[in-house]
Amino acid sequence: MMKEKDTNSELDALINACLDGRLSEAEADRLSQWIEESSEARQRYWQLASVHGMIEQSMQSASLKAATGEEFVTPVKTVDRFRWSRISSTAAGILIGIFGASMVWAYTVPRVDPAQRESREILIESFEDPEMKFPRRFPTNANRWFGGMRSVPGQGGMPAVEGARVGQFANVPQHRFSDVRYIVDFDEYGEPSDKHTRSIEVSGSFFSPDLDHTSVFRIDVAAFSEAPEAVQPVWIDREHFNDVVLQRVGRNYRPEPGDQATWHEVKVSMEIPRGARSLVVSLSAGKRVPGGASSDRYLDAVRVNLVDTFVPVD
């Protein structure tokens, strides 16, 4: 009996860790195996996970609001917090946001001439997940953010561009720049036909409350023939970097004295050479001059579009 109780406690602990997104890899393996092999484990998972899946809606009940003594606050993901996500470019796009307990959607305008230009939104990031982890190193794999950043709530003087949270760059006094990076793996998107050229469009909104305009914001994109896992050694080998990188474009934005302390959108586009496998997207914020004043700097509404354009053959 005691053994069964211990087993159930261990299983509950693993399921709870899974629901909170804090399983280690070893724990994920153990829980997966347990679920695959035991119908009791599956039933126990569903009982606990159903609670997790339903609390959000239940939290909106009037009785609960009264019981907590809080004014009703619309769940954060609401009017001002709709979140954009990946939408297939070939479908008539439908945007869904959570609006209270229900969903609202709008139809995007169909593309004017898909035969000429097909644009796919392959990444939209507004740092809405408070538990988001940013390993502080150069990316070692695709489809994940790495670097000096954390998700923080938007503030009154700095409302988020999209959603309710923004990314805050790490403020390390001895470093001039902080950055976040993400690798796109072109293998996941197929080759464009011979009659198309492929390009990438990256945009992001930057903010700094400093009034003496000591900040500089930057987006940098670089294409490599290496697989995502193999880009890091190339990146750090500065002596041979220029021989290996296939294409690279960067753009700086320096707020000027006349500018308001507001969000500044920076955009970069670059043609992708054939044979490119990985694209490193870097977004940085820092001091205009070495040793300049430290300041909080933020990032929001990052978008990466993959654009295939039809090029008629003469």
């Binding site: 399983l23 890899e25 679920i35 954060v76 538990e131």
Partner: protein, 178 residues
């Protein structure tokens, strides 16, 4: 050339399933969040599910179980999302498939939702406040810890205990109703 009558019927089928989706969103969302616990992954899956449900509207047979049909699509979207993210610290694809096979019936999900609302009111105010911060305000453990004057670890433990207490309360509510 497309027959205008066919077009009208297709549009009507799409509108019909979209309305059903909104009506049964709570059950579908509970299913998705159980298989895809991370809030924002769940949002992505819900969005993709809605798109696919709309696109495949004509294959839904009116009168059959809409939640079961939509959850079947949601399950595939969870797996797609899982393959895209390629994270090491989540359930395996085989485990997700096994869970989807053993998913509770739509009727049980509805009963669970009703019981949950009653059970939430039985929790201590401090615990309800934590749940409200986590699930309604979507605060991180660190933010909740700051607000509640606790450590992040204590917040995580309290949330785990709250979920277990709710599960036990729901089970007893459902059993006593039978």
């Amino acid at each position: 050339m497309t027959n205008p009558k066919d077009e009208r019927e297709a549009r009507s089928a799409t509108e019909e399933v979209q309305l059903l989706f909104v009506r049964h969103e709570n059950s579908i969302r509970a299913f998705v969040r159980a298989l895809q616990p991370t809030l924002f992954d769940a949002d992505d899956v819900m969005q993709e599910t809605f798109l696919t449900v709309s696109r495949k509207a004509s294959s839904f047979e009116p009168g059959t179980n809409f939640v079961a049909w939509a959850c079947g699509i949601a399950r595939l979207k969870v797996l797609e999302n899982f393959r895209q993210k390629k994270r090491g610290n989540v359930l395996s694809e085989a485990a997700i498939n096994a869970l989807a096979e053993d998913a509770p019936s739509p009727q049980l999900l509805s009963e669970t939702q009703r019981a949950l609302e009653a059970c939430l009111e039985k929790l201590a105010p401090k615990v309800r406040d934590l749940l409200w911060r986590r699930y309604s305000r979507r605060q991180s453990s660190t933010e909740m810890a700051e607000a509640a004057g606790m450590t992040s670890n204590a917040v995580r433990v309290a949330l785990s205990k709250a979920r277990v207490a709710l599960r036990d309360c729901i089970s007893s509510q459902i059993q006593s109703a039978q």
